[in-house]
């Protein structure tokens, strides 16, 4: 079975099966879009939590940490009920579209990116706090400065978010509906093939997905290594 699956995976990749390419591209497109949106929202959020003091801050941090363990199915259900034609946002007609899948993944990975950003920036904050205070840097400037200086460390943070987004199936299955040529992505295709008993094909799709994840990780790590050599980190 395992050897078959590796063979199948290789054949799928080499033959550039058009269906596979379509599914793969949509997977990557959805997850990268979710990552970009979540990153823009969550990285400043994590930074603000790390450098500012306000009532309820600890509570919010605890909440975000807990949300990292949010089951994708619950997120899917929540987004489904929001976007359902009988739900509050039904008028947008977004259910069973890639956009719905992006929304679900954004909700899923915001806590991860925000929490991990918080940890990175908190450490940096100890080093920079007094300097920024003496230079009278505005909070907005400080947020940008922190994010910019921590950018290479934050790659890992984004990577964690991307990993969660590209690999989850529970949420996108519910809000996307696994519709052929419209909302079918790698993970839902794997679930479908498994339910057809096509275990070898399902596993080979998993291997393809793993390859993509490895590729993304390799790129990020080489950027980090390059940065390290140049003394940016």
């Amino acid at each position: 079975m395992l050897i078959n699956a590796f063979n199948d995976a290789l054949t799928l990749i080499v033959s550039a099966d058009p269906d596979l390419i379509e599914i793969l591209l949509l997977s990557v497109q959805v997850s990268f879009s979710a990552l970009a949106i979540a990153g823009i929202l969550a990285m400043p959020l994590g930074t603000i939590l790390a450098i500012s003091h306000f009532r309820g801050r600890k509570l919010l941090i605890t909440f975000l940490n807990a949300m990292m363990g949010l089951p994708p199915v619950v997120v899917g259900l929540f987004v489904y009920l929001m976007l359902s034609r009988s739900g509050p946002l039904g008028i947008l007609e977004l259910l069973y579209t890639p956009t719905a899948m992006i929304i679900a993944q954004v909700i899923l990975i915001i806590p991860i990116i925000a929490s991990l950003t918080y940890q990175v920036i908190e450490e940096l904050n100890r080093e920079y706090k007094d300097l920024f205070l003496s230079l009278k840097i505005s909070p907005q400037q400080a947020v940008f400065a922190y994010l910019w200086d921590a950018r290479y460390s934050l790659f890992t943070t984004l990577l964690a978010g991307f990993g969660r987004a590209i690999s989850e199936v529970g949420a996108v299955m519910i809000v996307g509906g696994n519709i052929n040529h419209l909302t079918r992505i790698m993970t839902t295709a794997i679930a479908l093939e498994t339910s057809k008993g096509e275990l070898s094909l399902a596993l080979s799709l998993g291997i393809v997905l793993l390859t993509i994840a490895l590729l993304v990780n390799a790129i990020v790590i080489s950027i980090k290594t390059f940065a390290g050599e140049k003394g940016y980190v």
Partner: protein, 272 residues
């Protein structure tokens, strides 16, 4: 600068994704049972429908129970499932316009080839279920309120066995779809009730085979219903109606008849 560049990229990729939603001029959402999808039936019939009517049919395949619930929330245009009583209730509650018989096949009991409950060749489903229950051989139930699950519950009932009483170690409720339940049954050497279409197309059979078939109580009727535009104003009733009419037409019915997998006809048209 970097931020502007990133923002630009996001807008572009978002735009590309959103444009997906609008590039299908006439498309409908079909809330469907899983067997019609997993058996490859839609891959066969939907291109013909596209060619004849121009309608793209987006299939959301879930269990019958969930499909009906989704349709009640107006998240679809047409419902194609297999639980006549539940479908009729759906229509009488005002959620559907009218229900039509579309096609049928039958359920079969499959199990390991060594047949521990000794039911192979039986055409009496009650006898077979009683034998499974008295031997306490494992039986995998869908347990998900799907059409097949409802049919299975009914079969236990008419066989006079209450599987819910006490803890029955041999009665395994998987809470999953047909394919997942078949995978579990194969892994646990358990008997399982499946629709014939899913079973024929199922690729992980290992040593499993059909033991019980041919009892008329194993009849499995599929129905099709247009979701009611009065309850759900967003329903694309025109396109939905075209789709329903096509399947009920002579051409639709004969295309159902001509769909085979490995020489086996999977669905038998019986629209009135």
């Amino acid at each position: 600068m970097v931020i502007i560049r990133i923002a630009k990229k996001i807008t572009i990729s978002l735009g590309a994704v959103i444009s997906f939603n609008f590039c299908y001029a006439e498309s409908i959402i079909l809330q469907s049972t899983t067997s019609t999808k997993n058996s490859g039936f839609y891959d066969y019939v939907l291109p013909m429908i596209k060619e004849d009517t121009g309608i793209t049919v987006n299939v959301v395949a879930v269990g019958t129970g969930q499909a009906i619930k989704n349709a009640q929330r107006c998240d679809g245009d047409v419902l194609l499932v297999h639980s006549k009583a539940a479908e009729e209730k759906f229509v009488s509650d005002g959620y559907g316009v009218k229900r039509f018989d579309l096609m049928f096949n039958d359920f079969v009991i499959v199990g390991p080839s060594d047949d521990p409950a000794n039911i192979s060749g039986s055409t009496d489903v009650s006898e077979a279920l009683n034998s499974i229950a008295s031997q306490q051989t494992p039986f995998a139930s869908r347990g998900d309120n799907s059409g097949t699950h409802k049919a299975e519950r009914e079969l236990w009932k008419i066989s006079g066995i209450d599987t819910s009483k006490g803890t029955k170690m041999w009665y395994l409720e998987t809470g999953s779809g047909m394919g997942a339940t078949l995978n579990i049954a194969v892994g646990k050497a358990a008997y399982v009730l499946s629709d014939r279409a899913t079973w024929i197309k199922f690729a992980n059979k290992q040593d499993f085979k059909i033991h019980v078939q041919g009892d008329k109580r194993l009849f499995n009727q599929y129905g099709i219903t247009l979701i009611n535009p009065i309850k759900c104003p967003n329903v694309k009733s025109k396109a939905g109606q075209k789709f329903v009419r096509w399947l009920l037409s002579d051409k639709g019915q004969s295309s159902i008849e001509s769909y085979t997998v490995g020489g086996n006809q999977l669905f038998f048209p019986n629209a009135q």
